[in-house]
């Protein structure tokens, strides 16, 4: 009997392994998507100088007070160009504050970029050497964070924003955080 069980063992082990193979395939999990460990932690208190003369930079106090989106972008980044219209529409249609962080960019190129495509941001800080981004746990631009009124990071979106992600995940979360505050 024990002998029989022993011969069954390889099959049982394989069943477990096959289960582990099946789940990510069926759920279409993307192994490249990584959760941020910064969720629910205070946003890093950097003092990033302004990109534009007439718009403030991003200091530690700028991230507190109300719920907001923080968007890391650069003029050399293709996907940023893709998501830009969505940010523009967001700025036009809602009163959600948008904070831009210009990542490892040339100032002139960034200025041209904003002039061409429009500027959706209320404040833009310059992260010239990418150090602030590393403290945020940024992998690459674009990335967008939801930061709540107490200055804690609540959500991270990797890659270009999509209308769907905005509607289904980000905006509901923003509403929820606003409600929690009020």
């Amino acid at each position: 009997m024990l002998n029989r069980l022993l011969f069954l063992l390889p099959l049982l082990i394989f069943a477990v392994i096959a289960g582990y193979f099946t789940v990510p395939i069926l759920t279409k999990k993307d192994p490249h998507l990584l959760p941020s460990v910064m969720i629910d932690k205070p946003a890093p208190p950097h003092d990033l100088g302004p990109l534009l003369e007439d718009k403030p930079g991003v200091g530690p106090e700028a991230l507190r007070g109300e719920v907001k989106l923080v968007n890391f972008f650069a003029s050399w980044c293709g996907p940023c160009r893709v998501e830009h219209p969505i940010l523009m529409r967001l700025a036009a249609e809602t009163d959600l504050p948008l904070v831009g962080i210009n990542y490892k960019d040339q100032r002139d190129a960034a200025l041209v970029w904003l002039r061409e495509l429009g500027d959706p941001f209320g404040r833009i800080g310059v992260d010239g050497d990418g150090r602030a981004a590393i403290d945020w746990g940024v992998y690459g631009v674009p990335e967008t964070y939801v930061v709540d009124a107490s200055g804690h990071i609540r959500y991270r979106h990797v890659g270009p924003l999509t209308a769907q992600a905005l509607k289904e995940t980000i905006l509901p979360m923003v509403e929820q955080l606003k409600a929690a505050k009020g």
Binding site: H32, L34, P35, S36, V37, M38, K104, D129, G130, R131, I134, D135, W136, G137, Y139, G140
Partner: protein
């Protein structure tokens, strides 16, 4: 050599990221630089899948290499630097996962399976033990097969 490093310090700032570790990043203290190299072999390049930052030419890898060296110069220990990285990027950033509850099976699983296997093999070997006689189980072969095998084995089994 020293001249080229100084030259490099001037040049690399302006050049595009090209290669893994670049001359301009390297520390002057060879012992510290060696530590930096060893440490960066254990840090994953986050954007390029399965490469260490030491092997990668990605921008983020370069930034992390530079930060790592700065902290080494500032006197941080290896584990302090790892903690710094894990706080921002999670355990994912380490190519050698830390030993903790979730990774117990990773680190000790092979060892445990080895021990179990060794016990199994020991039991098996003791049960298989030869009493000194010849084979206990006759081979169930037909005459025809027996002939063929005999022909095949005859050349080399003479001694056995």
């Amino acid at each position: 050599m020293i001249r080229s490093i100084i030259l490099a310090l001037v040049l690399v700032v302006l050049s595009m990221p090209a290669f893994a570790v670049e001359p301009g990043e390297m520390l002057k203290d060879p012992a510290l630089e060696a530590r930096a190299r060893e440490l960066s072999k254990e840090v994953r390049c986050l954007v390029c899948q399965n490469q260490s930052i030491d092997d990668s030419n990605a921008g983020l890898a370069k930034d992390l290499r530079v930060i790592l060296r700065e902290r080494l110069v500032a006197g941080d220990s290896d584990s302090e630097i790892k903690t710094f990285l894990v706080e921002r990027y999670g355990d994912f950033v380490l190519l050698k996962p830390p030993v903790k509850a979730e990774t117990l099976f990773l680190w000790y699983g092979p060892f445990a399976i080895g021990v179990l296997g060794a016990i199994g093999v020991a039991v098996f070997l003791l049960r298989r033990r030869d009493g000194g006689g010849d084979e206990a189980v006759p081979m169930p072969l037909s005459d025809d097969e027996r002939k063929r095998i005999d022909a095949l084995m005859s050349e080399q089994d003479r001694k056995a």
